[in-house]
Each structure stands twice: as structure tokens, then as C-alpha cells.
């Protein structure tokens, strides 16, 4: 089953006959008309939440894994759908078309364009563009790349990846919605996180407890001091995060540490304590 087919099934769940008709006409149009349709989409397509079935979900996952699109609106879905029809054999022309859309895009168009990154042709070409969204201060634009989008994990360099994650943490975004968070964890990021936490603590501010999930595999002396500090924090979720890190890491002093907290150890073993509980 093709991506176009899966998308069309999704659209049928949520679009009226009239909306579907407009889309079908546009998918058969020339490149300039297709690009114009991308821009004009909200004039013809509603902006409401889409309906997604288990069948849709699994069909989509077969083609593009880890792409949670259930929070999309119909106009966003239809815009990405239209882009799937853009003729891509001529690389120069294709890239020029997409770049023009980016360069003249309004807010919702940017969201749709960045959402489409996982399925655009010539994926390696869009890395710089994607990092521009990470630099953006427009919340919805940043979110379109950072959260629920498998493109960064697949294509970002380690430095670009770490910027994305750190900026999410800095802006109190829910990092568990970053696709590939655990797979792309790295020593540099864990060390940066320690520095970041020290700055926040010095300012009398908090660090969201779930961010410590990023350090378990990269334990060293400095980080272990942080974990000990979390254990003695008066904030319960900080203690829970410290316990979870201790249980995950391959660092002998930590296991001895956790020995002092048998209740935590049991809670983790029973599944009563997990990172999911700290997600917010």
C-alpha cells in the first residue's frame, strides 16, 4: 500500500465529499497549480482534528515508523498529502518548488512543510532547513520538527540533535514526544544536561525530572553527583528520577546507592515507578 493511499484513507475519515473533490482535482493539476493549492488549502479544507483508526495507524507505521500524526488537523494532513503529488524526478525543480513554499510560507504552511519532512524526496537536502525550525522562536514551527517527527533522529548530526533536545528542555517541552530520544542519547548531551541543571539550580529554578532519563547510559563522576543531589532533593519526582537512573545505569556506586532505597527498587521492579509517570 502506498503512502498516498494511506493518506487518502485518513482524509476520507475526516473530510466532506466537497473537500475530497477539491483535493482530487488538485492532485491531478500541474506543478504551479499544486503549489497554489498547498497555499490555498484552508480556503477549501477545514481545520479540525482528524480521525485515525487502528488500521490507519498500522498501515502508516509500516511505511513511516514512529510518525504520530493523530494530533494533526485536517488542513495539515491535506497539505502534506498534496506535497506527495509533487513531481520529484527533476531534483532541481523539485527542490526549487519546496524552497519557494518555505520562503513565502505563513505560520500554518510552515507547520505543514516541516511536518512533511519525513516524506519529502531527497531527504538529505532538508537538514539545514530543519535546523532552521529548531532555531525558530515560533512555537508551532519548532514543535512541528521537534515533536512527533522522525526526521531529526534520522538525519541530524549529533550537534544538531543535541541542540534540538536541549532547546526542548530549556523551553519545558515534553521531551518524551521527541522521536528517537533514547536511541540518540549520547555522552555530550548527558554532559550538557548536567551543566544546564547546575545553571538552573543556581538560579533557584527546577529541572523537569524526566530529562534525567538521558544520562543513565553515560554515567560519570559529575553526573553521579547530580543523581545523588536528586536523591536528597525534597521534590519527590526528583527522587523518583534518581531512582530510575540508578536502576538503569551500569555504574557500581549507583547500585550501592539504590540499596539504601529498597522501596524505590521494588517500585521499579513492579512497574509502579517508570519514566512514563514523570512525563509531562
Amino acid at each position: 500500500m502506498s503512502l498516498i493511499h494511506v493518506f487518502y484513507e485518513l482524509i476520507k475519515n475526516s473530510a466532506t465529499q466537497q473537500e475530497q473533490q477539491w483535493l482530487t482535482t488538485k492532485t491531478a493539476a500541474s506543478t504551479p497549480a499544486l503549489l497554489a493549492a498547498f497555499v490555498a488549502t484552508p480556503r477549501f479544507i477545514g481545520r479540525h482534528a482528524i480521525q485515525i483508526t487502528e488500521k490507519n495507524r498500522s498501515e502508516l507505521a509500516d511505511l513511516v515508523p514512529d510518525w504520530p500524526i493523530e494530533s494533526w488537523t485536517l488542513d495539515r494532513l491535506c497539505r502534506v498529502f498534496l506535497l506527495l503529488y509533487l513531481e520529484s524526478h527533476d531534483k532541481t525543480a523539485y527542490i526549487r518548488s519546496i524552497e519557494t513554499l518555505f520562503d513565502t510560507a505563513e505560520l500554518q504552511e510552515l507547520v505543514a512543510l516541516y511536518s512533511a519532512l519525513p516524506v519529502l524526496a531527497y531527504p538529505e537536502h532538508w537538514v539545514f532547513r530543519a535546523t532552521e525550525a529548531v532555531r525558530s522562536n515560533m512555537g508551532p514551527v519548532f514543535d512541528a520538527v521537534a515533536l512527533g517527527n522522525p526526521y531529526p533522529a534520522a538525519h541530524f548530526s549529533e550537534a544538531a540533535w543535541n541542540q534540538l533536545v536541549l532547546k526542548c528542555i530549556f523551553n519545558d517541552k515534553p521531551i518524551h514526544r521527541i522521536v528517537g530520544l533514547d536511541q540518540r542519547a549520547n555522552q555530550q548531551l548527558a554532559d550538557n544536561l548536567s551543566d544546564f541543571a547546575h545553571e538552573r539550580w543556581a538560579a533557584g529554578r527546577q529541572v523537569p525530572p524526566q530529562v534525567w532519563r538521558l544520562v543513565s547510559k553515560f554515567m560519570n563522576e559529575t553526573l553521579f553527583e547530580d543523581i545523588k543531589a536528586l536523591f536528597s532533593s525534597p521534590v519527590l519526582p526528583n527522587q523518583q528520577a534518581a531512582a530510575l537512573v540508578s536502576a538503569e545505569m551500569d555504574y557500581e556506586p549507583a547500585h550501592q546507592g539504590l540499596g539504601a532505597y529498597p522501596d524505590w527498587k521494588k517500585a521499579i521492579r513492579d512497574g509502579a515507578l517508570s519514566w512514563q509517570m514523570l512525563e509531562s
Binding site: S71, R76, T104, P174
Partner: protein, 336 residues
């Protein structure tokens, strides 16, 4: 340069003590407009601070229109026009949304920069890329400044663009030779076959209002200290001509201006006995009716408290709602 305006004969006759009170005692104007909502159809937010957005939201402004204009010095290349238009539909739209204010814009080549013909030609080519964007509610602000031949040329070309896109036109009338410039702007619009109900003639005063209304155009007034209308004069205009097809805006920009001009004028109208229904028309509804002809205004976007875009709610996570900014107490000595 200031307009040549006659002294307003009527406000002195008003016996209500409130204008004096407003000058001396500074009562909070917000107390007179509690629960009212406002639409400012002309304000250049690009030139304003984020504090202004906060104050506007607090005063009841729920939506606004930012016309494309002159940035205070001439642009030297096409790219800066493109980035400017782009910011009106991108960054500024987002900045506004953080305060729960729906941001619309009008897109056009302003009259001053129409005089750089080489650049104006290039700008004309990219205008259609932006005119069809979501939330672009008109072609504007366009019209005359010096009233040169080049200004007329690009004014006419943009009227044709508006016709083709079926978008309203927001006309800037000149500071100098205002009466003549206003008449000329209207005559040319009619010559191009535009329906006056699709044209908003802006920056009117006591001298131009009658003719603009009589010819069937939307008649906008800018409350802007020293050079345009004062709000006491505005009250008398509404008293004399009624609320039909009249709208008030601030045109606040990088000059000495007031982004709260619309709610303040509503408060003054209330104090001076203008009926509530009339206040609502000139500070909210007429602007919506005029610019909704673009098909780009969905009032639910600013009458519903919560954003309707589900993609921004993220399972109720307020941080990601793309919504309200955290409040800080401006009077507090301590900054945390």
C-alpha cells in the same frame, strides 16, 4: 507634516465633566468598557513591543489587522520586502497569538516606495505569492503619499490585483492635500470598477467623512495624536454621522501613537453617551464586516477562548498550547 484640521467646534459644548476628569485624574478607562471586545483594523505591530500586545489584550482587543507599510526608511532590495511580508504572516502572527489576539494582515506596496519604480516592479511580481495566504484580508495599505505619477501607477495595478483576488482594499489617504488625495483615490477605485463596499478609505477626518460616506465606501478614522484624529473629535463624528460604515483604528506604529486608541475611544464614547450598540459597530463589528469580504475572517477564532487548532493543544499540555504567555507583575521591583 500634520494635517490641516479645523478646530472641532462641538466638543467644547459637551457638558460632561469626564473629559476633564480623563485629563486630570486618569481614571482607568478600562472600567468603562468592561466585558467589551475590540477589533483594531489598522495597527503596525511590527513596530510595537510585546508589552503592547499584553496591554491590548487586557483592554479587550481580540483581533487586529496589520497593513503592510513603510518601515521608516526606504528598503533597498526585493528580499527585504519578501521577508517583511513573510513576517506579517509568520512571526508577527505567532507573537500575537501568544496573547490570544488573532492577527490578520493586508499586503501591498506602500505609496512612498512605489516611487522607486525599479524596485516596485519586482515587488509587484511577488505580491500574488502573499495575497492568497490564509489570514490576508485585503490589499493594503495602498494609495497616495506625494501623489506622483508612479504612486498612481502602482495604486491602479494593485487595485486590479485586489479585484482579481476578490480582496478588499485598504486605502491610505495622504497627509498633505488630503481632501484632494482622498477624492482622487476614490475616483480611481470606482474607475477600476471596484465596489465601494470592498474599499476601506482610511485616515479620514471631519473634512473628508461626508464625501466618503456618501459615495458608499467604508470610512475609517485613525486615532493618532498630533497628526490624525483625536478621540474627542471622533466621538462627535459618530454623534453626527451615526455608526454605519464607520470604523476606528489606532494605526499605532513607530511614531508617537497609542495601541490602545480603539478601546480608549470606546470608553470615551461610553462616557459621552454614545449608545453601546453604536460603539460596538465602530470599534468592532464594522471592521469585521468590511474585511470579512475577504473570506478570511472566522470570528470563532477570536470569540472562542481556547484555540481551536487541536495540533496546538497537545493533550492539554499548556506549555505547548501556543497560547498565553506567563504574566509578570510590572510593578514588582523583583524580577525572577
Amino acid at each position: 507634516m500634520t494635517d490641516t484640521l479645523p478646530l472641532n467646534p462641538s466638543h467644547a459644548a459637551d457638558s460632561l465633566p469626564t473629559s476633564v476628569e480623563a485629563e486630570q485624574g486618569q481614571p482607568d478607562f478600562r472600567s468603562y468598557i468592561k466585558g467589551m471586545t475590540f477589533f483594531d483594523p489598522h495597527v503596525h505591530m511590527t513596530s510595537r513591543t510585546t508589552d503592547d500586545y499584553q496591554a491590548m489584550a487586557d483592554a479587550g482587543i481580540v483581533a487586529l489587522i496589520e497593513p503592510a507599510f513603510w518601515l521608516g526608511q526606504p528598503r533597498t532590495g526585493l528580499a527585504t520586502f519578501k521577508d517583511y511580508y513573510s513576517s506579517l504572516v509568520g512571526w508577527e502572527r505567532f507573537r500575537s497569538s501568544q496573547f490570544g489576539i488573532k492577527h490578520y494582515c493586508t499586503i501591498g506596496l506602500n505609496s512612498r516606495e512605489a516611487n522607486n519604480e525599479a524596485l516596485a516592479e519586482q515587488v509587484m511580481e511577488i505580491l500574488p505569492l502573499f495575497l492568497y495566504k490564509e489570514g490576508v484580508v485585503g490589499v493594503g495599505e495602498i494609495g497616495f503619499d506625494d501623489q506622483t505619477a508612479a504612486e498612481e501607477k502602482y495604486y491602479r495595478l494593485q487595485l486590479e490585483l485586489a479585484k482579481e483576488a476578490n480582496l478588499p482594499v485598504q486605502i491610505h489617504t495622504p497627509h498633505r492635500n488630503k481632501k484632494l488625495g482622498t477624492e482622487r483615490s476614490m475616483a480611481i477605485a470606482l474607475e477600476h470598477g471596484l465596489d465601494p463596499s470592498m474599499v476601506i478609505v482610511d485616515h479620514n477626518n471631519e473634512e473628508t467623512v461626508k464625501s466618503v460616506l456618501n459615495q458608499g465606501f467604508w470610512t475609517a478614522f485613525t486615532i493618532y495624536p498630533f497628526t490624525k484624529m483625536g478621540n474627542e473629535r471622533m466621538v462627535e463624528v459618530v454623534r453626527q454621522y451615526g455608526p454605519e460604515r464607520i470604523m476606528v483604528n489606532s494605526a499605532a506604529d513607530w511614531g508617537i501613537s497609542d495601541p490602545l486608541a480603539v478601546p480608549k475611544t470606546a470608553a470615551l464614547m461610553h462616557l459621552k453617551g454614545i449608545p453601546e450598540a453604536h460603539i460596538r459597530l465602530v470599534t468592532y463589528q464594522n471592521a469585521i464586516d468590511a474585511f470579512a469580504r475577504s473570506g478570511q475572517i472566522n470570528t470563532a477564532d477570536f470569540t472562542d477562548v481556547l484555540p481551536i487548532d487541536q495540533s496546538q493543544t497537545f493533550n492539554g499540555n499548556t506549555v505547548l498550547r501556543g497560547g498565553q504567555q506567563p504574566r509578570i507583575d510590572k510593578n514588582d521591583l523583583i524580577i525572577r
